[in-house]
Symmetry: C2
Subunit: 256 residues, 2 copies
DNA sequence: CGCGACTTTGACAGATGTCAAGGCTTGTGG
DNA sequence: CCACAAGCCTTGACATCTGTCAAAGTCGCG
């Protein structure tokens, strides 16, 4: 599968897909040829509301997007965070009634891809249908990990764990000492991800900074001591299922 | 789709599928004809271990099965619970490397269905591929709800919420006052689902019993005041996506 | 320069965890 | 049919983590 043109906004998405699934040329071309309408979303703006019937999935091209739930009192819980190249709500193709809200955490650009196109593609190319399903499974694995994180780790460990995850998802997992990534979220956002209060996030982050494990400046996070961060965060990247098509088992032929 | 024979152990599974997806006769027959090997699992026995490569999905016929994560100290967190008729790890068809352990909470009977059969069926019947994908999405929605529950509700509300969910999943949602269901889990199991300690589960349950909201006897849970339970639990069943094929939008033709 | 959003800090409150002991149920074997 | 053991439930006293409230400091932007 040698496709070198880096022009389509779907390139990064395709990369993520092929990181987990085996796709043939025909499928790759199809993905790259998907239709889509770019949309800018302002910070803290819901672009999908709870209960809404959506008609397109959204591919993040730039920015950060969160999946929000909340309790009766309005306390919010982020259940997933999506970075560029992630198709936020691919799941909506088969379940268009949104069960959680989607909000941009920063100014973001997303490409709205009509369900019809994705659905048709899944019907036509079983390998794509499978790849989409697999993406949903991977997202669910991350979600399960978040549940464990929120449920069974204390604030310090929980925070470190999240940072480890983001390092890996930003593909800085190797050579991680000194690795840094732009993570433009407020401490309130972090609190919503970690099920803490922003005050406590502040204290926790302070601790990690004082211990020279990470450095945070201008919303840029730098890992000073990766091994220590992994240990504090009780982190094992297996659940992220990054870069092993077919769960390192299937030798699926590339149909196409 | 008129299939009245209630002989196959896949009947309940098919019911759940058709509750969310539209399937034609051919697909229904195919599902009912799936191969499978019944297996008994003892209480507290892992039948899938973390990291294991599995080769079949497991359909719960009887009993209760939990999906477990844990932290470094061995504190456990249940991330999903499956009752009879649930295909526990349908997701393993496309991601055979287990990212969490599966354990029977009570003596359970599961039917092991080879991935090969499920995979082949998904390739042959796009509507089934889609239905399987949709089941994964529904499970993920429940998981997201659990994350919110664990992260943003206090012990009392969290417990009530879980009970509400189980009432609905056991299909006792209507006529819910007086509804009861067999839920043979220990308080330690409940603690692992709710991210509490068993001691605190005990105190919380005591409170709900004293307030005449629920009654618990011999592992049978009876709802005394459904409206109150819903209110305490801050519960809205929408996320369960029960009984509305296609997310109450798609008028999908039944292919077959 | 000043406003608004975000961060940082301290004092205190409250929810939940920890530890430990005793009571109850259930199943088993004599 | 009784006695015992094992697991489970229940309870109390106390510890600890995290939340709450409030104020001041900082940063970036118009």
């Amino acid at each position: 599968m040698i496709l070198l043109k880096q022009s389509s906004p779907f390139d990064v998405f395709l990369d993520k897909l092929t990181g987990r699934s085996v796709l043939g040329d025909a499928e790759c071309h199809a993905i790259l040829g998907l239709p889509g309408r770019p949309v800018q979303v302002r910070t803290n703006r819901d672009f999908v509301r709870l209960g809404e019937q959506v008609e397109h999935a959204s591919l993040v091209v730039e920015g950060l997007v969160g999946c929000f739930g909340q309790n009766r009192d309005g306390a919010r819980q982020i259940t997933a965070i999506h970075i560029d190249g992630d198709m936020v709500n691919l799941n909506s193709v088969v379940a268009p009634g949104a069960t959680s809200a989607l909000q941009a955490l920063t100014v973001s650009t997303v490409i709205q891809v009509p369900h019809a196109a994705l659905h048709e593609m899944a019907l036509r190319y079983p390998a794509i249908a499978e790849a989409f399903w697999r993406e949903t499974v991977a997202d669910a694995a991350i979600l399960a990990d978040w549940t464990v994180n929120v449920g069974r780790r204390d604030a310090r460990s929980r925070t470190a764990h999240l940072l480890c995850e983001m390092v890996c998802r930003y593909d800085r997992g190797d050579n991680a000492n000194g690795a840094s990534f732009h993570f433009p979220v407020t401490q309130t956002h972090l609190a919503d991800m970690l099920a803490l209060t922003s005050v406590h996030v502040n204290r926790t982050l302070k601790g990690l900074k004082e211990d020279r494990v990470v450095q945070v400046s201008a919303r840029e996070i730098t890992v000073l001591d990766w091994d220590r961060l992994v240990e504090i965060g009780d982190f094992d990247p297996a659940y992220l299922q990054i870069g092993r098509p077919g769960g390192e088992r299937q030798q699926q032929r590339a149909v196409g």
